[in-house]
Assembly symmetry: C2
Homo-oligomer: 383 residues x 2
């Protein structure tokens, strides 16, 4: 099988990542930070070491401000629901995934906030100017997608961060598609909240998400329970990270993430170079196929290659590619309704290839041949 | 090491459970139900099969009403926060874990509900009568711990379920310490919500919790995001299970749970018999040690053995048992403040042994020898 759905979950996990998870299952089956015995302490140290590595990787400062969750979506929800300013306004963008849009629009529907949308420019990028134009006197939070899961467009985070600092606004960055693929530094870039999907760009496992919280912000818990701290109280403690991490942590997935960061740091220069080459090659060759419409943002070589084949429905194309060529791409809508509306693809959806550095040029060539065949069949069908 | 902290997380995971997780990491690294390609479909089928097995195991009816979460705490929060009736009352008990108490008391502090507490009888059990006495005209939900993580006390769920059905009240059962150890049938026992910690009694992995939802109740989402359904909308869909499961699911932990249920069904008769024998033996022998105070509910043989050694602090005892004997037990408070207050152990905490059927009689004998030594040293120290 050729797996081109790495923006959903990267397929190939390093051996060290799987081994770390298995080792945690076999030898670390205790609850970190809950008991005084040696196994619980060892599990606690592993979790803390993972927080420290993440803080360093993300330029986040304190390890205590790294919070684990079920997934990136839950991390984004924690930042959004845990910092609501009643009657306030949140500025977000056309590029957002539903993991940002849905909590915001549900809050707006409940009358608690208003939501403003900044639109992309002609190159498919939402600029800091566009964000600034969307601000209202009541804006307290700006929520931006770092890399679009639909077009691959990269937001100008540096400029947006400077704007937010100048205006004293909180900045939430959805790093689902960026962390691992490019460098990010919360401190230097004035990012208050960064949400991470470790099973994507870091090649860790499904089952853990990360919210990194900057030093200037406070987040109220959105769910409550045992934290191993202040156990005599029926109220949630307010110290990070425990305040936002109730119940048993996913130790195997955290152990895997720990190993994944080490692997990432060793390999990132090479994998990024390779991914760029694969992306540029795929986009260039695809553009030359007759009947193809490409949606990937111009000069964007981060693995996201979105397109449609003439009038062929994207789900149909995806099904044919899977059934006849054993190629896994994603069709339909990509959980980001506003950008689909903006691009006019709400009905057709689009075919998204998302590459990883583990993919190969022969895989891309085989895929291109399949697309050419589909485009030709489609052209004949329409005659 | 002798591991007696199985109520936190069962230590020994069946080989089939670990293999299922590894296989999911290696070959199923796709997002279930998000794409049309074969790998995503296979992951989706695995998740659905796990829902079906859980529905059968729990007597829950529809597979669609099995909802996955980060952990049991989050499952309990979903049931509690997602069904709030403004101005209503919730009856709960002295036996509850903070995973139930904290969301309830936070809601009370916010002025949204009132909380009433039903107390245990002289045998340490909260009866249906005690629940009935605590009801108010505004009560809409009864939340009860099935098996206490502190004393092992088993709630009379049949009677409580009948009471709730008669009074048209919703019943939430915290099955963290019961599912796997005893049979439960939501349909027969009139349970509306059952929260499960698969990494405990089912010997699955940390990283997934389960909320099973009965047919008569509606739960509002508490967090929002991509669901793979209704992607054209910026609002959360209302169909189960997607409405309560935003973002990427923890596929490896779900695959492991699937295998764990199969293993459980093959072995449960034998493991329950064995756990009962080990528990009875431990309690009987421990009771004969001078200076020991036992807190385990009378005639309770489900692996929970709680006690203190004269005036020795429980954390000190736990540290000595770990450092000098390599025995892992849990000391201090057990995230259940009301039962500690009730038993007068808020200051001392208590030592909790929690056995699994994987433990052995020689392990128990070694532990008993250690406790005797500690009790003697303590007695000499006090002379």
């Amino acid at each position: 099988m050729i797996y081109f759905d790495n923006a959903a979950t990267t397929f190939r996990k390093p051996e060290s990542v799987i081994n770390a998870a298995v080792s945690a299952m076999q030898y670390l089956g205790a609850n970190p930070g809950r008991s005084g015995h040696s196994l619980s302490l060892r599990a606690g140290m592993l979790v803390y070491s993972t927080r420290k590595k993440l803080a360093k990787l993300l330029g986040a400062g304190d390890a205590e401000r790294i919070v684990f969750s079920l997934n990136c979506t839950q991390a984004l929800n924690t930042a959004i629901l845990g910092t609501v300013v009643g009657g306030g306004n949140v500025v977000t963008t056309t590029m957002e995934h539903n993991s940002v849009l849905r909590p915001l629009f549900e809050l707006q529907r409940a009358g608690r906030i208003t939501v403003s949308i900044a639109e992309p420019n002609e190159r498919g990028v939402v600029t800091a100017d566009a964000i600034e134009r969307a601000l209202t006197p009541r804006t307290y939070l700006v929520a931006v997608n770092h890399v679009s899961n639909v077009t691959g467009a990269v937001a100008p985070i540096d400029e947006i961060g400077r704007l937010c600092r100048k205006r004293n606004l909180r900045l939430l960055v959805d790093g689902a598609q960026s962390v691992g693929y490019g460098d990010i530094d919360m401190n230097e870039q004035n990012i208050d909240f960064l949400a991470v999907a470790p099973h994507k760009g870091l090649h860790a496992l499904q089952g853990v998400g990360v919210l990194a919280i900057g030093p200037h912000v406070d987040v109220r818990p959105t769910f409550f329970g045992g934290t191993g701290t202040l156990s005599e109280s029926v109220f949630q403690p307010r110290e990070l990270p425990e305040s936002l991490e109730s119940g048993t942590l996913p130790t195997p997935a955290i152990a895997a993430l720990n190993a994944a960061i080490t692997h990432h740091e060793k390999t990132r220069a090479e994998t990024r170079r390779r991914l760029r080459e694969l992306s540029a090659y795929t986009l260039e060759k695809l553009a030359s196929v007759r009947g193809i419409k490409i949606y990937t943002a111009p000069d964007t070589y981060n693995g996201i290659v979105s397109f449609n084949i003439a009038n062929l429905g994207s789900m149909d194309a995806c099904n044919i590619l899977s059934a006849q060529y054993d190629i896994a791409v994603r069709g339909g809508l990509h959980c980001a309704p506003l950008i689909h509306r903006y691009l006019g693809t709400l009905k057709s959806g689009m075919i998204r290839v998302s590459l990883s550095a583990d993919n190969t040029f022969p895989e891309v060539d085989f895929f291109l041949r399949a697309v050419r065949e589909l485009a030709e069949t489609e052209a004949i069908g329409r005659m």
